[in-house]
Amino acid sequence: MTTKPTTTPTEDTALFREIEHTGDLGIELTAPTRCELFRRAVLALAALLVERTGVAEREQREITVEAEADPDLMHDLLAELLALFTVEGFIWRDASATEAGRSLRVTVRGEPFDPARHAFRGEIKAVTYHALMVESSPNEWRARVIFDV
C-alpha cells in the first residue's frame, strides 16, 4: 500500500487541460504515478463544478471503488464523486488517494455546497465511457475523460 501526500497545485490549469469535444466537456491529465493521476482527476472534477479556491476544508468524505481495469476505476470513482456532489451537495477542495491492488480509497476535504458562496460553473450530467483512457508510459500516467454536460 502506498499513501500519497496531499498537495494542491495553486492553479487548476496545472492539473488538467480541457480538450476539444463538440458537444461535451473533455479533460486530459498526466501524473508521475497512478495514484496521483486518480487524485488529480478528483480535483479536476471539483474544478469543473466550482471555483475550487473558494471551497473551505471543513469536513471530509471517504470513497472506495474497485474495478478490474483502470478506465473502469476512473469512471466509477468520478461517478461516485459526482453523486457526492449531486445527491449530498458536498464539494471538495483537496483530496488524497490510497491504492491497494485493484481498489482505490479517496478522501476528499471540503464542505456543503452553498450557491451563495461557491461560484458554480455548470452541471455535469455524467462521466461517459466515450474515449475514456487511462494508460502509463515509463515516465508518466495519462488519462482522458469526457463528461456529458
Binding site: 480538450i19 476539444e20 445527491v87 458554480f120 455548470g122 450530467k125 455524467a126 465511457y129 456529458d148 454536460v149
Partner: protein, 478 residues
C-alpha cells in the same frame, strides 16, 4: 470515409462487412464538406453495426460528434430481434422541447421584458443548490411521478387535459416501472422537478416573426408578433443516473449475448433480454419524469407572466402548442422495404416528425401533421415545422432537433474571453438572465450552426415543412 451522393441533400456511407445496413446522412454539400473528417461519420457507421438494425443508420443535418451515437442519429431496430442501446437515447432521457403560445403581442410586452425575464428567472430554479420547484418530494411521491408521467401534473394542478393532448405520447410512456429506477437516481431527481438545468437547456421568450404556411400556423394558433415560450430541458439527474446505471449493466451483459460493437458507449442488449426489458422500463420512467419537469416549468412560467405583467390568466391566453422529445427510444410501426414492421426507433438528438393523418396525433393536429420544434441559438431564431409523409417512408418519422454545435464548449469560452456577452446579446435585442457566466459563454450564437440551413435541408428532402419562425427576445439559462 467513402460517401456517395444520392441527391443534393442525401448522402450514403456504403455498407462494409461489419455494418448491418448502410448509413445515410441528410446534409447540404456545404455541410458535408465540413463533416468529411468529423468523427460523427464514423459514429453513423458504428451505429449501423447494431444487431437487428433495419433500413439505414440515419443522421439528420444537425449531426455532430456524440458519444457512441452521433447527435442527430436515428436507428430503428427490429422489435423482436433487435437490441436496445442506452447510448442511443443518451444520458438526458427525454430531453425535449415544448412551445407555448400566448394572446400577447410583442409590442405590449416590450417595455416590460426585463421585469418578465426577472420574474421567470426567479420562479424557475436552475437546479443545483436549490430546493427545486416542488420542495420535499419523497421517493414514494417520485415513484408516482415516474409511473403516471404528465397525468401526475394533471392530478396535482400543474396541467390541463389539453396540455396532455398536445404532448407527445400524452406525456406518459407506457411500460414505466418505478422499481427499475435506482435509489441514487431518485435522490438526484428529488429536488429537480420543475428545474431547468444548465448546459444547452433554456427557456426562451420569442415573438413569431415569420409565417411560412398560414393555414397550418392558424391550426397551431400562431400569428405574427405573438409572444411565445420555448422550454428545452429533460429528465435532470434522475435520467442521467438511470442512463449511467444501465450502461454499466448492459455493458456487463454484452459478452453473454455475444454482442460485439466498435464503441463501448454503444453498449446494447437484446430488447427481449432481462437487461433490455429492465432498461426500457427505467427509460420510460425517466421519460415520464422529464414530461412532468417541462410541464411544471411551463406552469411556473405562466404564473410568472401573470404576476410580472399584472394580467389575468384569461388575458394571457397561455396554451401549449406541442411538446416533443428528442432523446428517446420508442416502439412504432414503420414501413421497412415493402412491409410494415414493428421497430424500436432510437432518436438521439432527433425529433419524431409524424406526417398528416397519423393516429398518434390529437384530432386537432391530425390534418396538418405533428409539430416539430427546432430551437436555434440565443440570438437568431427557432423554427416550428410539421412532419410530412416522406418522413414516414424515409426517416422512420424523424427530423432534426436543433442547430448543431459548430464550436466546442472550450473554444466557445475561449472566444468569449474578455467580452461583455450580456451587452452584446442586448444589442441584438436579447435580454439574458443566467445562473453562470459559462452558461452564456458556451452557448453564444457563434458556437452554433445556422439552424435555418438545417431546417432547409429537411424541407428540401420533404421530411418536414416550415410553419413559423420565432425570434428570441429574452433567454433564461441555468
Amino acid at each position: 470515409m467513402e460517401l456517395i451522393k444520392l441527391s443534393d441533400y442525401l448522402w450514403e456511407i456504403p455498407k462494409t462487412s461489419s455494418m448491418m445496413v448502410p448509413g445515410r446522412i441528410y446534409a447540404s454539400a456545404k455541410m458535408i464538406a465540413g463533416l468529411r473528417d468529423d468523427p460523427a461519420l464514423t459514429q453513423v457507421a458504428n451505429v449501423a453495426c447494431l444487431p437487428g438494425i433495419v433500413g439505414y443508420s440515419l443522421a439528420m443535418p444537425d449531426i455532430h460528434w456524440g458519444y457512441g451515437f452521433p447527435i442527430g442519429g436515428v436507428a430503428a431496430v427490429d422489435a423482436c430481434d433487435g437490441v436496445i442501446s442506452p447510448g442511443g437515447v443518451g444520458y438526458d432521457i427525454n430531453c425535449g422541447v415544448r412551445l407555448a403560445r400566448t394572446s400577447l403581442h410583442f409590442n405590449s410586452v416590450e417595455p416590460k421584458i426585463h421585469r418578465l425575464a426577472e420574474a421567470i428567472f426567479n420562479k424557475i430554479p436552475a437546479g443545483v443548490g436549490s430546493q427545486g420547484a416542488i420542495a420535499g418530494l419523497s421517493i414514494d411521491q417520485l415513484k408516482d411521478v415516474v409511473r403516471e408521467g404528465a397525468n401526475w401534473t394533471l392530478r396535482n394542478g400543474y396541467a390541463t387535459e389539453r396540455d396532455l393532448e398536445h404532448t407527445e405520447e400524452g406525456g406518459v410512456l407506457a411500460g414505466a416501472d418505478p422499481d427499475r429506477i435506482s435509489e441514487r437516481a431518485y435522490k438526484r431527481g428529488a429536488k429537480q422537478l420543475g428545474t431547468l438545468g444548465s448546459g444547452n437547456h433554456f427557456l426562451e421568450l420569442s415573438r413569431v416573426d415569420e409565417i411560412y404556411d398560414s393555414r397550418i400556423a392558424d391550426v397551431l394558433g400562431l400569428e405574427l408578433g405573438q409572444v411565445t415560450v420555448l422550454i428545452h430541458s429533460g429528465s435532470r439527474g434522475l435520467g442521467h443516473q438511470t442512463c449511467d446505471d444501465y450502461l454499466k449493466l448492459i455493458a456487463s451483459a454484452m459478452a453473454r449475448y455475444e454482442i460485439r460493437l466498435p464503441d463501448r458507449q454503444l453498449a446494447a442488449a437484446p430488447i427481449i433480454s432481462t437487461e433490455g426489458q429492465a432498461y426500457l422500463a427505467a427509460m420510460a420512467a425517466a421519460a415520464n419524469f422529464a414530461w412532468c419537469n417541462r410541464q411544471v416549468m411551463m406552469h411556473l412560467a405562466k404564473q410568472a407572466f401573470v404576476e410580472a405583467l399584472s394580467i389575468s390568466p384569461g388575458e394571457l391566453g397561455f396554451e401549449l402548442v406541442y411538446d416533443v422529445c428528442h432523446n428517446i427510444a420508442k416502439f412504432e410501426e414503420h414501413s421497412v422495404g415493402s412491409r410494415k414492421q414493428m421497430v424500436c426507433v432510437h432518436r438521439k438528438g432527433a425529433t419524431r416528425a409524424f406526417g398528416p393523418g397519423h393516429p398518434a396525433l390529437p384530432a386537432s393536429l391530425r390534418p396538418v401533421g405533428q409539430p416539430v420544434l427546432i430551437p436555434g441559438d440565443m440570438a437568431r431564431y427557432s423554427f416550428v415545422l410539421v412532419g410530412l409523409e416522406t418522413a414516414m417512408r424515409e426517416t422512420f418519422g424523424s427530423s432534426c432537433h436543433g442547430a448543431g454545435r459548430l464550436l466546442s464548449r472550450t473554444k466557445a469560452k475561449r472566444e468569449a474571453g474578455g467580452r461583455d456577452l450580456r451587452a452584446e446579446l442586448n444589442t441584438l435585442g436579447v435580454t439574458v438572465r443566467a445562473h453562470t457566466y459559462a452558461g452564456i459563454a458556451e452557448e453564444m450564437p457563434h458556437a452554433y450552426k445556422d439552424v435555418a440551413e438545417v431546417v432547409e435541408v429537411m424541407e428540401a428532402a420533404r421530411v418536414t415543412r416550415r410553419v413559423a419562425r420565432l425570434k428570441p427576445f429574452a433567454v433564461i439559462k441555468g
